[in-house]
């Protein structure tokens, strides 16, 4: 069998693939965090809980209403987006005039409440969620076996990330978002309803997290703590990419996923900490992040 850097090619490519899949989730989640932080200046600690809610909605839709994966891929993000809009309108909005720390503490408390409630209702153990029939099975690529669903996750998350980036960079709505990120008061004086834009942005961020949750359901189990497991890594991704940088969040998500996967090949003991080591180095050398502008 052929090798690369003395490692069997199969192991190398296998971990690269796992890295890309993890990276897909990092990218989707850090994208939502970056959008929310950019406009609302809120560090959304409830993001992991919203990701978990997405997966749970998918599971509940299936077990209570018989609605499968494909409808869930739309219904769950919309539902979580609406919950997000409600949270922003009724609670988060009151904190904008205060120190950003209040937004962080509020969303942190919210995450604990949501996760605690689901843990109480459904227990800490995971619920299995079957891979949709259309994406079951795998393809033998010759050098490795690729489960179809994992390929789908990578492709679909790329499409969603690039699509979101295009909306922000190339559309009228996106220009409102970018401008309001820089100077919300002036944008509002132009006659644009910035408070509504803030609600929309928080809902969009929450919906992206929920979408990642639905995608994750067939791979990881659906459990109340799935969000708190991943969110710390995602915060590291956002810090490395640069707070509020959209493209930075996407690219860094995939890069760090791959870095983590490849570390498993070359030095498995470090794979759990490699992202945090990179974060520490980036913070020392470029505090604004790889793609961030100096504030």
């Amino acid at each position: 069998m052929s090798t690369i850097f003395g490692i069997p090619l199969q192991a190398f490519l296998g971990q690269l693939l796992i890295g890309l899949i993890n990276g897909s989730f990092y990218a989707l989640l850090s994208l939502g965090l970056a959008i929310i932080f950019g406009l609302l200046r809120v560090i959304n600690f409830a993001h992991g809980a919203q990701y978990m809610l997405g997966a749970f909605f998918a599971w509940l839709l299936l077990s209570h209403f018989g609605l499968g994966y494909w409808p869930a891929l739309i219904v769950a993000p919309v539902a979580v987006g609406l919950v997000g809009a409600l949270i922003e309108r009724t609670m988060l909005r009151r904190l904008y005039t205060l120190d950003p720390l209040y937004g962080l503490l509020f969303t942190f408390g919210l995450a604990l409440t949501i996760e605690g409630t689901f843990r109480y209702l459904y227990g800490a153990s995971g619920q299995p969620y079957a891979t949709p029939a259309a994406l079951a099975g795998g393809i033998n690529l010759g050098f490795m076996f690729l489960p179809v669903y994992r390929g789908w996750v990578i492709v679909f998350s790329l499409v969603v990330c690039i699509g979101t980036w295009l909306v922000i960079e190339k559309t009228k709505l996106g220009s409102y978002l970018r401008a309001a990120t820089e100077n919300p008061v002036l944008v509002q004086s132009f006659g644009i309803n910035v408070p509504f834009l803030l609600t929309l942005t928080y809902a969009l961020g929450a919906a992206l997290a929920a979408l990642a949750g639905v995608l994750a359901a067939p791979i990881y189990q659906v459990s109340p703590l799935m969000g708190s497991n991943i969110i710390i890594v995602v915060f590291a991704v956002v810090v490395v990419g640069g707070m509020g940088s959209i493209m930075g969040a996407i690219v860094t998500g995939y890069l760090l996923g791959v870095a983590e996967g490849l570390t498993k090949v070359f030095y498995p003991e470090a794979s759990n900490i490699v992202i945090f080591v990179i974060m520490a180095i980036v913070l020392l050398i470029r505090p604004a992040g790889l793609f961030g502008r100096d504030a």
Binding site: A179, L186, S189, F190, N193, V194
Partner: protein, 233 residues
């Protein structure tokens, strides 16, 4: 002349500090009025309070018959009032063209993109550069152009000539004269009263958060000495 903007007894606060102490002013339809006064007397606060950016305010502001005190900030522009801040507010993450198209049109009769590029040829040449790559003068042109597209009836213009070279100041003066011919109403804050004397119909003199004098442009030269005293220039 029919008053378009009528402000009476306007008080405004930044946090605890009381900045405006009963401002009274009127601006007629199609008139160009300049607020003069030293730094820190409340000229910018007057504009920001009329626009509704400063929300801690009391008094009366009526614009085209509507009571602006009750209007939320994002609805004020739809009444036909545009604000151009001192810092110009050009967005660095938007191209010149995107900056230009950002404010939604609030009424018919705004300038078309072609008319704007005719009035500001530099902006056309630089339409795809990021907004903040422009020179100070070009940024000011863009800030004005951006509002002209929306079809507002009146502009609140805060120190448009600040920090600009004389040739650019002259260019902005020409633009304001063109706007006047088109019937635009302007309330201008300006330190440079040589510039203001060429475009304004009437002046208010402001001190300690209220108006302390008012006179037409024809009396400007006669009042030059007192103005120098009050303005400390």
């Amino acid at each position: 002349m029919k008053p378009l903007l009528k402000v009476s007894g306007l008080n405004a606060w930044y946090g605890e500090s009381h900045i405006l102490h009963g401002v009274d002013l009127t601006v007629g339809e199609g008139e160009m009025v300049t607020l003069l006064g030293r730094n820190g007397v409340g000229k910018t606060t007057t504009l920001r309070s009329i626009m509704g950016i400063v929300r801690k305010r009391k008094g009366e502001i009526s614009f085209g018959g509507a009571d602006l005190m009750k209007v939320p900030l994002h609805r004020v522009a739809h009444h036909g009032l545009g604000f151009i801040p001192e810092e110009r507010g050009i967005f660095s993450t938007l191209s010149v063209h995107e900056n230009l198209l950002l404010p939604p049109a609030v009424a018919k009769g705004g300038m078309t993109i072609d008319e704007i590029f005719e009035l500001f040829p530099n902006l056309y040449e630089r339409r795809s550069s990021p907004g903040t790559k422009l020179s100070g003068g070009e940024q000011q042109m863009l800030a004005i152009a951006r509002i002209l597209r929306t079809g507002v009836r009146m502009m609140l213009l805060d120190e448009p000539t600040e920090g600009l070279a004389p040739v650019i100041v002259q260019r902005i003066g020409d633009v304001l004269k063109t706007l006047k011919q088109r019937g635009m109403t302007v309330l201008l804050v300006e330190q440079n009263f040589r510039f203001a004397s060429k475009v304004a119909d009437r002046f208010y003199l402001m001190d300690h958060g209220q108006m302390v004098g008012e006179f037409p442009v024809s009396e400007l030269s006669a009042r030059m000495d007192t103005l120098h005293d009050v303005l400390g220039v």
